[in-house]
């Protein structure tokens, strides 16, 4: 094993330390012996340079938006403007204690209040709570509010949540976590919800429906006015999964479509970083009916001596709230980044985001179709993303979606989302986002064409791709069977 492949623990040497980073002397500890630790936990012993070099080198083993085209469908991997990070990390912002008085937080709170207002406007909702810490937590808040709304009216039998079969896995998992029963709705051949099935499914047991629009199939739900009427007439509420909000920003609003509650993924639509798997931010918006049930805290504004004063609205302001979802107020620093992004994009820019995201997706879809790839929904416009199916390639020359994904890595493109939605065989869900150039999209098409041609004409198999990454294809079965989830030093191994 070369040094570059070592873990930080193998680079450790007893007695080494980044001396500048902790107090010079160790203060005496006057605590009962029985409460103190006697073992020495495995933490690295390394110099500052070693640590910096180790993690810098690790970072270089990643694909990222800053280095690669990352057309991961449903994830909206757009450019994260640098100013958003730099300004959110001003010392006053990162130094502010969450329980500090609002007199020492008017700057931060002003931003949060204005963010609530902007998000209300872009979604067409009546109220916004910023506290959910990721999309899935926003979903949880949404379903919990729907439940609380029915319960508050004494309508306590409404426990069924309708979810299209193409939905994100978080939708059914969330409904289940909220103590609801999930009922799946089939999708029609054009990618829309099957209206007849919906009519059959609704009733006095219906709490609501969870929809993504444009859907996870990359198409705008044609029948949204009909769906809205059927569900509302049955006494249910409509939940909007904001994963695909980027597609419609400034063009059409969930509130105007009749949705009662929405969660937004600020790390998608409003360009806060994905960070290798978080932090996200799942702010929720609600219509009139769900306002009293919003999760707290929410930022309020009052006039004091002719001056605006921003403050927290808590239990006493929202006695029917579904409660608190985080230790403080959610992912505040992420919210600041989203605020800065929205201020830079501005009113007209919002619409242009949806327009150019849609232009890029439709262009890429047209180019791939013209090159012989099969679209999952050939009669439909793409939204900000679209699906191709490799079922013929898989059958005729053993080129699966997984193979294409891995082969793309060798051509320096991150793979699209694979095998989701589950209903489309051998699918790639492709979302280019508005921040990619025509040249990048053309380069991606060339790569796709090359991969397919080599498989078709030259019999190239990609079963063992990738070849050029830091590692080759990994043994997932072994990872699960011979679970190795922490480093164990050799001497401990023997013991």
């Amino acid at each position: 094993m070369t040094i570059k492949d070592q873990t930080i623990f193998e680079k450790s040497r007893d007695g080494r330390r980044a001396f500048a980073q902790s107090p010079v002397d160790e203060a005496p500890v006057d605590l009962p012996e029985s409460m103190l630790r006697t073992d020495r936990p495995l933490l690295p012993e390394a110099s500052e340079l070693q640590v910096v070099r180790h993690f810098t080198r690790l970072s270089q083993k990643n694909f990222a938006i800053d280095t690669h085209f990352y057309p991961l469908g449903s994830c909206t991997m757009k450019y994260n403007p640098k100013a958003c990070n730099t300004l959110a990390m001003l010392p006053e912002f990162i130094g502010r204690h969450p329980l500090g008085p609002t007199s020492h937080g008017q700057g931060f709170l002003t931003c949060m209040y204005e963010l609530q207002d902007m998000l209300k406007d872009v979604t067409g909702m009546q109220g916004v709570s910023l506290t959910p810490m990721a999309g899935a937590q926003g979903e949880l808040a949404g379903v919990a509010m729907i439940r609380a709304y029915h319960d508050a009216r004494g309508d306590t039998d409404r426990r069924e949540v309708l979810v299209p079969d193409a939905a994100h896995g978080t939708n059914p998992a969330t409904a289940n976590m909220c103590g609801c029963i999930v009922k799946e709705l089939p999708t029609g051949p054009e990618g829309d919800v099957d209206i007849d099935a919906l009519k059959q499914a609704v009733g006095p047991q219906t709490a609501g429906i969870m929809l993504t629009n444009p859907s996870t199939l990359g198409v705008f739900e044609h029948n949204i006015p009909a769906i809205e009427k059927i569900v509302h007439d049955a006494g249910g509420l409509l939940y909007y999964d904001g994963a695909n909000l980027n597609a419609i920003l400034g063009k059409v609003r969930p509130g105007d479509m009749g949705f009662d509650v929405i969660h937004m993924n600020l790390h998608k639509t409003f360009s806060t970083p994905h960070g290798g798997g978080g932090p996200g931010s799942g702010a929720i918006g609600v219509g009139e009916r769900l306002l009293p049930f919003m999760p707290i805290p929410v930022v309020g504004k009052r006039e004091e001596a002719g001056k605006a004063h921003y403050h927290w609205l808590e239990e006493e302001d929202f006695p029917q709230s579904i409660g608190r979802l985080s230790g403080f107020m959610g992912n505040a620093g992420v919210l600041l980044r989203a605020y800065i992004y929205m201020r830079m994009v501005g009113r007209d820019g919002m619409r242009r985001i949806a327009e150019y995201a849609t232009l890029n997706a439709n262009y890429l879809q047209a180019r791939l179709r013209d090159e012989g790839f099969e679209l999952a929904f050939p009669t439909r416009r793409a939204s900000h993303e679209f699906i191709i199916t490799l079922k013929h390639e898989a059958r005729d020359f053993e080129l699966t979606a997984m193979d294409v994904a891995k082969a793309l890595l060798d051509k320096n493109y991150h793979a699209p989302t694979t095998y989701f939605p589950l209903m489309v065989p051998e699918c790639l869900l492709i979302e280019p986002t508005e921040t990619e150039s025509k040249e990048t999209l053309d380069g991606f098409v060339d790569a796709m064409v090359e991969i397919a041609r080599d498989a078709r004409e030259n019999g190239v198999k990609y079963k063992e791709a990738p070849y050029t990454m830091p590692v080759r294809r990994l043994d997932d079965v072994k990872a699960a069977r011979e679970l190795d989830v922490r480093y164990v030093a050799p001497e401990d191994d023997a013991a």
């Binding site: 630790r37 798997g277 080759r472």
Partner: protein
């Protein structure tokens, strides 16, 4: 303006390839009556220069007061290298490592994190993080219910030192699944569990023990863990990771050790930042790994037999199991874990111990100074860690206001949550405070007491 690169020529060529006349044509599947013209609630765009000016102005409004508040979020020195490396685009702008071969940096970092946090907590396995400590309790309780099928109850008992916000959050998240979270009684002299008042007939599914407690004291954890295990309950520990440099690891509490440990990871290199983003850590005994929520990274081999890292045991997760998943969690707090891993690597065990010992010592000095003021006394007799409660002879709120007007955030007012304790203030002085800072706080407090005493005399 959006950050898109399209020239008019690009747009024209792209529309031609699509076979559309205009961008608007691409939206022709959206019912016309639903479309909007403009967003009046969003201001006009700012340039980066303008938004920089705006944000500096806003930041200035918040100022940089001296902070002596803890109560679940702690100010520590963060080495410059932590965020300088963490915000590299390769970490910052990557996504969940679903394509393992192109995500080895993030995956190996998480594997190293899992190693460090299991070591600190004395348990076997860790996940890749949860949202924060508070929501971590909800996930741990749901996990305990799945893992402890022998006990039919959905009742979770909380030691009195469990952060009251954690109880609220856990109730909000798991209440609809029938879980309840009730507190065990506190001995108000000691500030820890009242063992004499324990109900020996209790049969909870889990007992939750926070160490150090929310009010800063140290609980007799060994005794309580054994009490819980005798009742077939699982033990969920909540521990401040900094404190674990000095205190006994939860995996070693009592005869058998805690079963699950969670906590707020923020003290490990994550800035206070108004409450987030932080990260929740979670570790457990090997036996419960399949009940764990969230992502887990495992080490395996590639086709050439070389070592590599990948997400593992994904059959627990929502994108595979849907309604049967262990949790709905998807995105977690990856970037914060990266920061914490770099932080722990830079400090090492010896550095972290110095930070913990200095914080403990500074808080002791602060408390000694404060109780030398007539009208202030210690609230509890139990030993404390880097946070401690003092009782004032007047309402806490007015004292905090007066301190804040001289740039000192004097602590967290406990009198709202625990009115039975009187005018109690929770103070915290981490290693970031110098002797001069501590003196300045004590002097300001003495001044406030003297002035208002003079007024009322």
């Amino acid at each position: 303006m959006p950050f898109n690169p399209h020239t008019p020529k690009d747009t024209a060529e792209m529309l031609k390839a699509i076979g559309a006349d205009s961008i608007e044509d691409l939206f022709d599947e959206i019912p016309e009556h639903l479309k909007i013209e403009s967003l009046d609630g969003v201001p006009e765009a700012l340039t980066e220069m303008e938004v920089t000016r705006l944000m500096h102005d806003r930041a200035r409004m918040d100022g940089t007061p001296q902070c002596f508040i803890g109560a679940g979020a702690y100010e520590h020195h963060i080495p410059a290298a932590v965020w300088s490396v963490t915000t590299r685009g390769e970490f910052y702008s990557a996504y969940t490592p679903y394509q393992a071969e192109a995500s080895q940096g993030t995956l190996q970092t998480i594997y190293e994190y899992q190693t460090m946090i299991t070591g600190l907590t004395g348990l076997d396995v860790s996940n890749a993080s949860l949202y924060d400590g508070a929501s971590g309790l909800a996930e741990a309780a749901l996990m305990a219910v799945r893992a402890n099928r022998k006990v039919k109850s959905r009742k979770v008992l909380l030691a009195p030192g469990v952060n009251p916000t954690y109880q609220k959050v856990a109730t909000a998240i798991c209440g609809s699944q029938g879980l309840t979270f009730d507190y065990l009684p506190m001995n108000q002299q000691q500030g820890t569990l009242d063992f004499d008042a324990l109900d020996d007939d209790a049969a909870p599914v889990a007992v939750v023990i926070q160490q150090p407690t929310f009010v800063g004291t140290l609980e007799e954890v060994d005794r309580l863990v054994d009490w819980a295990h005798e009742r077939k309950a699982l033990v969920i520990a909540i521990a401040n990771p900094t404190s674990l440099a000095l205190l006994k690891a939860p995996g070693h509490w009592g005869e058998q050790g805690a079963d699950i440990c969670i906590g707020e990871g923020q003290p490990l290199g994550v800035p206070l930042s108004s409450g987030g983003p932080y990260f929740g850590y979670m570790t457990c005994k090997q036996a419960y790994v399949r009940q764990m929520p969230g992502r887990i990274v495992g080490c395996t081999t590639d086709l050439d037999g070389n070592k590599g890292y990948t997400l593992t045991l994904q059959a627990r997760e929502q994108h595979i199991r849907r309604t049967k998943a262990t949790s709905n969690i998807c995105t977690n707090q990856g970037l914060m874990v990266t920061a914490a891993t770099i932080y722990m690597s830079l400090l090492g065990y010896d550095g972290l111990r110095r930070v913990a010992a200095q914080s403990l010592s500074n808080t002791q000095k602060l408390v000694d100074g404060l109780v030398s003021i007539p009208g202030i006394e210690k609230t509890f007799t139990a030993p404390h860690f880097h946070e401690a409660a003092v009782r004032l002879d007047r309402p806490v709120a007015e004292v905090l206001d007066a301190l804040s007007s001289v740039g000192i955030l004097g602590g967290y007012d406990l009198s709202g949550i625990y009115p039975e304790l009187g005018n109690t203030l929770l103070v915290c002085a981490t290693e970031t405070k110098t002797d001069a800072d501590l003196r300045a706080y004590v002097d300001a407090m003495r001044d406030i007491f003297r002035r208002s005493n003079a007024r009322s005399a």
